[in-house]
């Protein structure tokens, strides 16, 4: 276990953890509402995968001085560094798949870029779990882009800039990305954004959906801790749910 994480690396891992926490929450929230029973089974499974990964990230963060109790149950909504796409629920199944499916894919790209000894084996195991997530989401994204292009397009235009902001600003190339420069990741944000946009182009290929023009995020507008440009956060009722506040009297000391 090392103690050489930069402050940016600690924030980066918290952002991954918090985004996965919220994906887990929204997967659970939707898990009886999938179009087919197979979707619900997949959603329960993905809920568990994401939550288990959150626990592993919290352990790592605790060792870096970001207290696990604070992460778990003592912070307020503004201290959650989740992707802006995961602040609230989706209005319908197409929006659910577009904003959460694409956020899940972006989180995998970020996770897979970590190149630090503290994550040896861990990120491989997580990526293995994530295979079933991308398999599931890609199946639905391809299906919905082909069958329901107008709704897909609208959801994509609502979500894409926030997903890209979660990956990071395009200005962070190999010369300027602090995580790449410190060796914490093996790919720059610019490379990860290109990989994500290539992936997205593949999803909508042959459909009536176009990948929208993306907005260049000025570095000064980008919140490095929360990996977003937009304001906003999870709602207080969601905070209460994910904290487990109602049952603290039964928690182990």
């Amino acid at each position: 276990m090392s103690d050489d994480w930069s402050p940016e690396a600690v924030d980066f891992v918290q952002s991954l953890a918090d985004t996965k926490l919220m994906l887990s929450h929204w997967y659970a929230d939707q898990a009886f509402l999938g179009p087919n029973m197979g979707d619900n089974i997949a959603l329960f499974s993905m809920t568990q995968d994401e939550y288990g990964q959150v626990r592993q990230f919290y352990l790592q963060l605790d060792r870096q001085g970001r207290d696990e109790d604070w992460l778990r149950s003592e912070r307020d909504t503004g201290n959650f560094y989740n992707a802006a796409t995961t602040d609230g629920p989706a209005a319908d199944w197409t929006e659910f798949e577009v904003k959460f499916g694409l956020t899940d894919r972006a989180a995998l790209l970020l996770l897979d870029a970590i190149d630090h000894e503290d994550f040896t084996g861990l990120t491989d195991k997580m990526a293995e779990e994530e295979y079933s997530h991308t398999d599931f989401h890609d199946g639905w994204l391809e299906q919905l882009a082909a069958a329901n292009p107008a709704a897909f397009q609208a959801a994509l235009e609502d979500s894409l800039d926030d997903v890209l902001a979660f990956i990071g600003p395009a200005a962070y190339d190999e010369d300027t990305d602090p995580l790449y420069a410190s060796g914490f990741t093996d790919r720059s944000v610019a490379e990860l954004r290109d990989a994500f946009l290539d992936y997205l182009a593949g999803i909508v290929e042959g459909t009536d959906v176009d990948v929208p023009d993306t907005t260049e995020v000025p570095l000064e507008s980008w919140n490095e801790e929360r990996r977003r440009v937009a304001a906003g956060s999870i709602e207080p009722d969601v905070l209460e749910t994910i904290r487990g506040s109602k049952n603290t009297e039964f928690a182990a000391e």
Partner: protein, 70 residues
Amino acid sequence: MNYEVFTRISAGDDLKHIGSVEAPADKLAKNYAKTTYDEEDWATMVLVRREDLVRVDAGRDERVEAGELV
């Protein structure tokens, strides 16, 4: 669309019918099958669209219903 799920645990075993899934497309059907029938480390898992099953016993409706398969 309905799909029937066939598996074998070890190479050389017969393929056995273990269940079915309903999905809007082949890719999702494969995902549902893997997630739903994950109790074994299958050597082989294949899907057959129910509409592609060919009835062999004569004198009956060509169509195969899900309940006939288990």
